[in-house]
Amino acid sequence: MRRYVARRVVALAATLVFVSMLVFVVVRVLPGDPAALIMGTEGSPEAAARLRDALGLNRPLAVQYLEWLAGALRGDLGRSIQYDLPVGALIVTRLPVTLPLALLAAGFMVVVAVPLGIYAATHHRRGGDYVAMLVSQLGISIPQFWSGLLLILLFSVTLGWVRSGGFDGWSAGIWPALRSLLLPAVALGFFQAAVLVRATRSAVLDVLREDYVRTARAKGLPGRRVVFRHALRNALIPIVTVAGLQLGQLVAGAIVLESVFALPGLGRLALNAIGARDLPVVQGVALFVASCIVVINFAVDLAYGVLDPRIRHEAS
């Protein structure tokens, strides 16, 4: 197991270095000059040129990258061009929005999808299965921004139960903060749940056809016990794989939904930074998100070992 973990850690570090290079190069290759964007159409080109120089954008790309990498290794992701604040501090201020949003959405996804998937599998080709698949199909088909707008229309505009958007911060109280995050979390989680329902259903269905399940049934175990003790545990590997991948996608989905719900989260920070060519922020957020996804995958890899003794033993 130790060797297995060590191998994963090396892969994780290599991935992050590769991601950092990719992000840096892609961001620099993008057409669009940060200085021209700051100055807009009203500032003079001379003023833009002076600003470009002051921002250090005229230095060779390799020098800029190495400087940035050295800073990043020390925990310094640079300074935002737009806000004139450290990128790390900006990311930290956005986490109290994006992290709870992603966690709420993930919670919604798991709580809805896994039971629904099991239900569909155990009611294979019966009414319940078809309804579950229909709901899942709807979830996959409806774009997140659209389901977000529909939720706003129903719960904010028509019923007036929750705010249509914005976030006053956790200091304003747990309930008001949760209230701001609830609708986007549902919109975000709905799509992911729809995918996970299908994965769960198919994984459980596969296991239910196994001989040992038939044996368990034959020896007279109650159906619930067969499903939860024998089938689900063995079906968990593909479910955890899909759920892990989806956790990463939740962060990407947050970019769109944070705009629809006007939430000051990481996604909106990244989106604005791309529009404003705030290169240090784009790089910082991309690296941070990539790190999160790599770490999630790492955790999933470790979970395999915990869930499946064969992987544990093979690795060691």
């Binding site: 003023a47 600003l51 705010r163 249509s164 006007a262 404003a276």
Partner: protein, 499 residues
Amino acid sequence: MMSRSILVLLGIVLAVSGLAGAAAAQSPAALVVQASTEPPGLDLTATPASATAGVVLYNIQECLVKVDRTGKIAPWLAERWNTTDNRNYTFFLKKGVRFHNGRELKAADVKFVFERAMNPETKHPYPRYYEAIGDIIVKDDYTITFSLKTLNANFLLNLARQGSVIYPQEAVDTLKSAPIGTGPFRFQEWVRGDRIVLGKNPDYHVKGLPHLDRVTFRFITDPNAVLAALKAGDIDASLFGLGAEHVQELSKDSRFAIVVGDTTNDVILAMNNARKPFTDVRVRRAVTHAINKPDVLKGAMFGMGKILGTNVDPLNPYYVDMSGAMPYDPGRAKKLLAEAGYPNGFEAVLRVSPQYQYSVRTGEILVDQLRKVGVTVKIEQIEWGQWLSRVWKEADYDLTIIGHAESWDIANYANAKYYFRYDSAKFQELFRKSEVTLDDKARRELYVQMQKMLVEDAPAVWLYMHPRLAVTKKGVQGLWKDLPVSSADLAEVSWAATK
């Protein structure tokens, strides 16, 4: 079964949270305003962004003189000024004006502000506005004289512009994140990505103002989200964020009031005068004759706005209505194209940025109209950052549509390097004269000549003035109807007693 319980639980949580929300009633002296773009910093001496001006100009910081709601230059932090030779202007500062940090505004602050603006090291976005200034002499704490190296007809206007705001010299390092000024509102809080909050300045130098205790600018980019926020009552006003199509919808709703007014924003179809076939004036005139501007205004802006004939907007005192000078005449357009050697028309690419939805809609109408005279136009939508780089900076384009919001921006046509690439020595000379002609009648004559010359040379097609479109809850009063300057001056805004 389980999913049903989750839905019930969700319903309960929403209902409980809804009750909590209902308890938090809005204060009658507070206003929540939507802003489409978050400012890229709050330092007006470092960025020309209209998003910054919308929050800071005339709300937090003010100038020696002010462009008022009618477009006239009015005394402000300077209660009066005099000049005998149009070269030496002496300003007499209003006494007792205090910055938000409590210190009184003195002439030394004014000197510091303008010397800093003139210093190239400070990267001020508009150094050219201060080029004419030679010396700045502080006579006493409330009297200051500007000596100009050359005559400058726009000197007073330049002192009213957003880059000329007065701030205390000790607060220069915090201008970007927490600006201090003399305005009716004090900066309170900026939650990046969400809102900027301003509070009332109790020591404001204009008695009785402001009416509001608190102003919150909330950043909502998506127009649909703005609509939802208005309808849900989460914001009180949208001053710039909604398009003509949304205003149409909200005008039918009795809960809202619509403000439609004039602006200095000229929406133009720019042609690259240095690229064939637009190097030929006959082609440029043909394009102008091929466009049915009333139809464009109807289709793109639901008829709101005003048709333009040149690049001087209706709020400018030297505006001449030239909208009928080059009328819609497809027959004439075809003839001109044939004379220029394009009897079967030509192909061109129109680059627009979807960030400005009106430009895309306008483009779609123009494509149809130009096709009728044989000009095949392909629309290419590019992101704003790319537009600035490729079109505006490098002039890598055939045609583009954009609104020019700056006032007095006829100057752009006197700059051969500007992205129009319009290079006319005669026009440049007329403009140079207009900059040093102080006599109003003579200057007006020069402006009339410049406008006529632009019509003749047709370096661009001036389509329409983008209207000021603001939506507020019923009861919000005191907003500027017209926008002669890029500011959302909220000093006189209040709620009607019935709120």
